[in-house]
């Protein structure tokens, strides 16, 4: 049992709760109709388009989260510009951060 500032965390208790929850879910599932299967609804639905052969269907990594990347395009453009891969720039970033820390600790942080 792990005591945190405002409570506690016990994984064993959590697993117990998980098992109980799964049991309850299984019981609720048991109320369902057994014959409610097959037909149109069990087929995959892809925006009304034709489904390619199910055995060969696999979304490539490059296409996952396409929308997210598209939405944050400006941010990712900046990031691409920063990550040049030139070793001189790495050193320049290091020196830049050191300079910033100099300013913060030596000038701003007066005790």
């Amino acid at each position: 049992m792990l005591h945190t500032p405002s409570g506690y965390w016990d994984p064993l208790l959590w697993i117990l709760a998980l098992i109980v929850a799964i049991l309850i879910a299984y019981i609720i599932r048991g109320f369902g109709r057994k014959d409610y299967k097959g037909g149109e609804q069990s087929k995959p639905f892809l925006s009304g388009m034709d489904i390619p052969d199910e055995k060969e269907l696999h979304i490539r990594a490059g296409n996952i989260y396409w929308g997210f990347m598209e939405g944050l395009e400006g941010y990712y453009d900046i990031m691409k510009k920063i990550h040049t891969g030139v070793v001189n720039d790495y050193v320049a970033w290091f020196l830049g951060v050191s300079a910033l820390l100099f300013i913060v600790i030596l000038i701003v942080g007066v005790t």
Binding site: M1, L2, H3, T4, P5, S6, G7, Y8, W9, D10, P11, L12, W14, I15, K55, E56, L57, H58, I59, R60, A61, G62, I64, Y65, F68, M69, L72, Y75, Y76, M79, I82, H83, G85, V87, D89, Y90, V91, W93, F94, G96, V97, S98, L101, F102, V104, I105, L106, V108, G109, V110, T111
Partner: protein, 520 residues
């Protein structure tokens, strides 16, 4: 050889045994490959066992001091002098904690290497350098002497650079190694310069003795800036992180797991210098805010950069940066609150969370890199676009990957959740925004590992790969880390009370650190 003798000498033995074995390896390599592997394994297991024995003793409250070459291991101050002159090893809670991490991950990486580098040439040198990396890490953790810290830092970075370039027949491996080495030797030189600044003022190199007389003058501030910049760069804090994905990607997977720990050791050095060397003389608010903001930046930029990556190891290296951010955040909040009334509740919890996260991260990120290596071993590519359906043939690897991914995303009941919970709850005290960002980062982490799992393991099987699982020794290496993750996940309370709390206490209590060496 009784238990007491072993305990007294264990700090020196832990550094000396791998060092001796490192140079024996190339000789034995010429006689027999099998004998070399056995030697390396025996040494790694010995280090792990001795480390557990030592750590157990340290966690019960005894700080171990070892003075090299003195007539008595605890005689830190020679009779003729008033200050510590010899090299002093000081193993307190945090050192033992970090040593435990290094030994465990090295053992897993060593086992994994047996099969993983089987087809490569120059294995004798590979194991030499692997043991030297272990020496560098343990040395940096145990030493109580600033210059010695620099020496072990350089041993660590030279060994790491040589190992990153281990597949030298690939151009990108050498490129990554060169980039890593340029920036890390520059950082090490800055550390040396800072050590010179401190030595020039106080004529001391021993950290405890320095801490006692530290006045926080202008030169001390300059030294502090150089230390923070160099060690933050070495642990991969954004925006000085660019070498991390480059070098982690091209190194052999077992070495990448070690490199993760090497970064954590730099993090240890950063914390050690902020807390034990400067301590309360420091302007804790400013430095705390600096470390917190480095942490936030690392968390957020690291995870968002990980999301679009197509190279599996590159993606994981960006996650390594983002997870380092959690540690910086947790311990930074601790530093920010030190000396304030909230420290005993929230500050301590934040530091426990940050330090606990170091161990958790070493375990699950090591495991994830090892699974990435297993995938590379099988399909000979790191590109996620070119792989699919690997779960059909690599069932165990898929399960290990899933456990690692759940742990890194902070899904209960794995270990990542426990440390993240501590961090979320305690940084809330400084500002609720910190907690919100931390949770957001966790969600994006899960999202990107869903992507990896989907594209590597799901879908129809690949046509032109061999069936079957990776060799047994690789699986054993992964099992060690998986068992660690599950145990730490199921018993977080015990771990925090008996392992993490002494480590955080050692970091927070500067007076005890000084007293152990100087006395009085």
């Amino acid at each position: 050889m009784n238990m007491n003798w072993l305990l007294t000498h264990s700090p020196a033995l832990l550094i000396a045994i791998p060092l001796l074995a490192a140079f024996l390896t190339p000789l034995i390599d010429r006689l027999s490959k099998r004998a070399r592997n056995v030697l390396v394994l025996i040494v790694l297991i010995t280090v792990e066992v001795v480390m557990i024995v030592l750590a157990w003793d340290v966690f019960t409250g005894n700080t171990h001091i070892y003075t090299m070459g003195a007539s008595n291991p605890t005689a830190t101050i020679p009779v003729q002098a008033a200050i510590p002159i010899r090299i002093v090893l000081e193993v307190d809670g945090l050192s033992a904690f970090m040593g435990l991490i290094s030994a465990t991950v090295s053992l897993a990486a060593g086992l994994y290497s047996l099969a993983f580098v089987r087809r490569e040439t120059g294995q004798g040198r590979y194991y030499t350098l692997l043991l030297l990396m272990l020496v560098g890490m343990l040395g940096m953790e145990f030493t109580g002497d600033l210059f010695n810290l620099f020496v072990f830092l350089e041993i660590l970075s030279i060994a790491s650079a040589a190992l990153i370039a281990y597949r030298f027949y690939r151009g990108d491996a050498v490129e990554g190694a060169f980039k890593y080495f340029v920036i890390s030797s520059l950082g090490a030189l800055m550390v040396l310069f800072a050590i010179g600044l401190l030595y020039g003022q106080y004529d001391l190199l021993n950290m405890a003795a320095l801490a006692k007389v530290m006045k926080y003058t202008m030169l001390d501030k300059i030294a502090l800036v150089l230390f923070i910049a160099a060690f933050a760069m070495k642990c991969g804090a954004i925006p000085m992180h660019m070498w991390v994905p480059d070098s982690y990607t091209v190194a052999p997977a077992s070495i990448t797991a070690m490199l993760v720990v090497a970064s954590q050791v730099s993090l240890y050095a950063l914390f050690r210098i902020c807390f034990s060397l400067y301590g309360l003389t420091l302007d804790v608010t400013t430095v705390g805010i600096i470390i917190i903001s480095l942490g936030l930046l690392s968390m957020f930029v690291g995870v968002t950069m990980a999301l679009p990556q197509k190279d599996i190891k590159r993606l994981m290296s960006y996650h390594a940066i983002s997870q380092t951010g959690y540690m910086l955040l947790g311990v930074g909040v601790g530093l920010y609150l030190i000396g304030k009334p909230e420290f005993s509740t929230y500050g301590m919890a934040a530091m426990e969370g940050g330090i606990f996260h170091i161990f958790n991260h070493a375990l699950y990120k090591g495991l994830l890199f090892l699974t990435a290596g297993a995938i590379f071993y099988k399909v000979k590519t790191r590109n996620l676009n070119e792989m699919r359906g690997l779960a059909h043939s690599m069932k165990f690897t898929a399960i290990f990957f899933m456990i690692g991914a759940f742990a890194i995303a902070g899904i209960p009941p794995f270990n990542g959740f426990a440390s993240k919970l501590l961090i979320y709850e305690s940084v809330y005290c400084v500002s609720p925004i910190l907690s919100i960002i931390a949770m957001l980062v966790s969600i994006i982490t899960l999202a990107s590992f869903v992507k990896v799992f989907h594209s590597a393991f799901m879908g129809p099987p690949m046509r032109n790969t061999k069936e079957g699982e990776v060799p047994k020794s690789m699986l054993i290496g992964m099992v060690i880390l998986t068992v660690g993750i599950i145990l730490f996940g199921l018993f977080p309370g015990w771990v925090v009370d008996h392992i993490v709390h002494p480590a955080a206490q050692a970091l927070a209590d500067q007076a005890a650190y000084i007293q152990a060496v100087i006395g009085g």
